[in-house]
Amino acid sequence: MNTKNEKKRFLQIDGVQTVVASLICIALGLIVGYIVLLCINPAGAWDAMTSILKNFLYFPRPEVALEYFGSTLAKTAPLLMCTLSILFAYKVGLFNIGASGQYAVGAGLALYLALAFHMPWYICMIAAMIGGGILGGIAGILKAYLNVNEVIAGIMLNWISLYSVNMLLTNVKESSTTYTMALKTNSPDGLIPSLGLDKLFSDNRYVTIAIPLAVIIAILVWILMSKTKLGYELKATGLNKNAAKYAGMKEKSNMILTMVIAGCLSGLGAAFLYLSGIEQWSCAQTAVPAMGFNGIAAAFLGGLNPIGSIFSAFFIQHITSGGSYVDKMVYCAQISDLISAIIIYFCGFVLFFKHCMNRKAKK
């Protein structure tokens, strides 16, 4: 009897419910993904699925695996920033689908300042942050004063910023390819220092202080949301705009401020990726960066909690990187995009899962 009561309470704790609901989403996503793999080619499906889930563990030698673990972490840092950007805005009742555009602008400014003016990394980072913030602010102003749906405005801004950044970065691209020049050879000052962190990951030079910085920012966002007056006001605005106004809060400037902060976060994320030198921007890019959209998956999978999103961002990046290890003769790498899209879709059912758990717990 006693244990039964404890079990009931255990299922009713909000955090436990969130974790269970997220795990259900992941499981459903993986099952549907596996079925798709089976439909394409039954023979290699299991191998493909395991290589997606193993990612860096794909390499048998521990040193190599550790090095690729470092690369996955280096890409998790920017994803975590986009995730924080989306969940922060969502808490205030705004869907920041423009994270991709803010991310693109951040990448553009960071790389341009680094490559054209050889600025040190921290200046580039701040510029990326401001750039993303301004773009977020535009969407916020449009929403607060002109009642423009932030999702549609965000998508339009995504495309506008993608084309603008392509135009800007064409000035600093390699002459023979469409990619921007490598930071390491052209302006080493622009690289984020690693302060010895690379030694931990078999000398993987992409492992920089960006990774611990991203985790610290996640904790700061959590403190801001749940421990400060500003966070309280922002959440109140998200719950009921009119009630917040009636209680004397400046609901319009709260909305704009939210979008500016969200934009800063995604802009900074881009700096974390491109200033580590792990990737170069392709000026012929015709698709909006996927990072912002994967951030949506991670934000909802993490139960819209900054601390939870540290883990969910890692998971999403883990399977995205793992997608590149599937057998290219049988499947394509986009299979992991498909799985994360399915996971986002099932995240829509989280409320329903929680409802079921509550009903079960009451019985």
């Binding site: 689908i97 449009l142 999702v151 549609i152 801004l157 394509c332």
Partner: protein, 313 residues
């Protein structure tokens, strides 16, 4: 000039069809942000028909292509209908998931087909050079009228009649304005919303196939439809959720989209020496400006985006 007019009309047809889809869904009370993904899946359906049934006589093939797109589009829109109507899911989130899912699923699927035919073919394109020729109805000089333009006009008129002249349309609109009131007089809100979302899948699917056959004879599904579904939503808002106005709004947006395809044909524009990226951005900039000007007094259906709960007062 004829080319500009032709592209304007074909892009306007796409935007109008998809915007009408959005209009039906929102009028019933469900925000359909997944139109972009619906377009991709609809386009995939049509492209597969063209690939495997390309030998049919022209008229039959056009019909088959449209049916293929409609079936794919409607089935795909059920993803939104089930989650938003039965499970009360967040419509923005589900719409976004559908957009990502549409492109990813189409890419995986087309790549699997291509690799099945030839192991070294890892592209995500489907070609339809010969099949596409069947779509042109007749030519006036250089100006080519496509069957799809005619279809778009017919569907526009049909949409107007259905929304404003039939009992079904009145009921659909009631569910978007005040579902509780509609329920109290015996209208099944869930059924009406299902109908609205499925009609939007129908329009989105047709819009998708018209878009990919507009200017090119092969489509790379990795690229999706480049934000066209969202441009269509801007057209819908600009058109104040009314078919007639949506038709006019689509023409304006179609013109700007067409400019980015054909600007090099005009000496004046060529002389200005504006980079092509600016023309690519133009439709998006215009829609932002238009949204900023016209969203303030929007006549959006009052109950859109709110899941219907029978117990709520």
């Amino acid at each position: 000039m004829a080319l500009l007019l032709q592209y304007t009309l074909i892009y306007a047809s796409v935007l109008m069809l998809v915007a009408l889809g959005g209009c039906f869904s929102e009028r019933s009370g469900v925000i359909n942000l997944g139109l972009e993904g619906t377009m991709v899946i609809g386009a995939l359906g049509g492209a597969l028909v063209m690939k495997y049934m390309g030998n049919l006589p022209a008229a039959l093939m056009i019909l088959a292509v449209i049916i293929g797109s409609v079936i794919f589009g409607v089935l795909y829109s059920l993803l939104l209908a089930v989650s938003a109507i039965n499970f009360k899911a967040d419509q923005t989130l589900v719409g976004t998931a559908m957009n990502l899912l549409g492109t990813a699923a189409a890419t995986v699927f087309v790549k699997a087909i291509n690799m099945g035919e030839n192991v070294n073919n890892v592209s995500s394109s489907i070609q339809y050079i010969e099949q596409r020729k069947a779509f042109s109805a007749f030519k006036i000089g250089n100006f080519e009228v496509s069957w799809f333009m005619i279809l778009a006009v017919v569907l526009l008129i049909a949409a107007h009649i259905v929304l404003y002249k039939t009992r079904f349309g009145l009921r659909l609109r009631a569910c978007g304005e005040h579902p509780q009131a509609a329920d109290s007089v015996g209208i099944n809100v869930y059924k009406m919303r299902y109908a609205g979302v499925m009609i939007s899948g129908l329009f989105g699917g047709i819009g998708g196939i018209v878009y990919i056959t507009a200017g090119v004879s092969e489509w790379k599904f990795e690229n999706g439809v480049a934000g066209f579904g969202f441009l269509a939503l801007a057209v819908m808002i600009f058109g104040q959720w009314e078919p007639k106005l949506i038709g006019l709004a689509a023409l304006l947006f179609g013109l700007f989209r067409a400019l980015s395809n054909v600007y090099s044909g005009f000496d004046i524009l060529e002389m200005l020496n504006i980079p092509s990226a600016v023309y690519n951005m133009l439709p998006y900039i215009i829609s932002l400006v238009v949204l900023a000007l016209f969203s303030r007094n929007s006549k959006a259906p009052k109950a859109e985006g709110i899941p219907y709960d029978k117990g709520q007062r």
